[in-house]
Symmetry: none
Subunit: 120 residues, 4 copies
DNA sequence: GTGGTCTAGACCACC
DNA sequence: GTGGTCTAGACCACA
């Protein structure tokens, strides 16, 4: 696993996002089997149930599929994964602009604010 | 009240942010009395308890102060309000960059993504 | 609650089906608040988590929606609920015919078999 | 082998049902030797262990018998096989009616629903 | 009080 | 061993 989870927001969705990115970036190839639920849980430092939940969600979204007694696999067609990743980025960005507007910064000023941002 | 609350995230903090912005932008002048808790609650469409908690929080932060039996007033010195607003904007932006990084977009690419953003 | 749950198959989906039927048949009217997760859990004799899971699924399917701190409500538009119920019936029936075919009974013979069926 | 296995339900029992039907319909005659476990496994696309378990189960039910070092044979008396097949059909049908009742369709309406069913 | 999230651990079916 | 389901119980945010 690359980075670690952010404890300040629900980890379930984070795991979904993490794996979605991993699939899109080819870290897990189409058709490849993922590490087991229990392995992922240990790697990520969370409960197996939480991982299971996240995987099921990705299954419903058409990114992964499971084989009873065998494991979780990456769907051959990664179109859905790409779509969902794009949608996530758009949603997070839209939410960011909304929040900044809420904090008194209109869209254009927020863009300027971001442009000047220095790596923390 | 200017805009409306975002139902997709907790309303309590939002009310605090809203009032903080209102104070900094002079919508409520130093020393001015705010509308009553009940009025604010009706305007915002939330439970009076939620407004009450938000006002108390702003009181603890030195942005407002309360007078028993009279209401809530804006502190004469708005320095704290400005500081807090600045901090909030920085935090939200830092969090945004972190989230986008999580979604596979490094800082520079996120900046480019934001630059191209079209008003929804 | 009308009947009881069948212990021989997963209860989670059963709860979803139960509530879906209840919504379609108007047992819970559009806009109405459902009993709390904990109440439903007691009524059905299952763990609150299981109920929560089922409700979330119905939420994703557009049959219910939740309000934090308040409860679960029936969507005003019951179109989705009706669609899903119809789909469920079709799926179960198709699966039944497939199974019977597997057991050596072609579709027409299965129809005859069902026609002669006596209430147990 | 006639049809293929249904991936949406456990394959173990399906293999048992498949062979039971094959015996009743004379596809495998009384006293005849069945293909080897490995052959069956390849034909069905499943793990040899799964086939082995299914065969043992049919052995316990008095449909087949095994000869060490030789293979599995069909019992001369097919009465048990016929009984079991009949029981399976009844069980599946009863379960189907129960499920449809759960989905809001009483027995008579389910019969009507089945009567109108069009081959998919 | 409400829903929402997470942990811990058990048991099942399947391979 | 694998995934899948369920229970029990804790803690949080919100009204």
């Amino acid at each position: 696993m690359n980075g670690y989870l952010d404890k300040s927001r629900p980890v379930g969705p984070q795991i979904g996002e993490l794996l979605c990115v991993a699939v899109v970036q080819g870290e897990y190839a189409p058709g490849q089997r993922l590490p087991s639920v229990r392995e992922l849980a240990v790697d990520l430092g969370v409960n197996p149930n939480t991982v299971q939940h996240a995987l099921e969600s990705l299954g419903e979204q058409g990114i992964l599929y499971s084989v009873r007694g065998s494991g979780w696999y990456v769907q051959e067609d990664r179109t859905r994964a790409r779509e969902i990743l794009t949608r996530l980025r758009r949603e997070k960005t839209a939410e960011f602009f909304r929040t900044m507007q809420f904090l008194g910064l209109p869209t254009e000023e927020t863009k300027a604010f971001v442009k000047e941002w220095e790596h923390e």
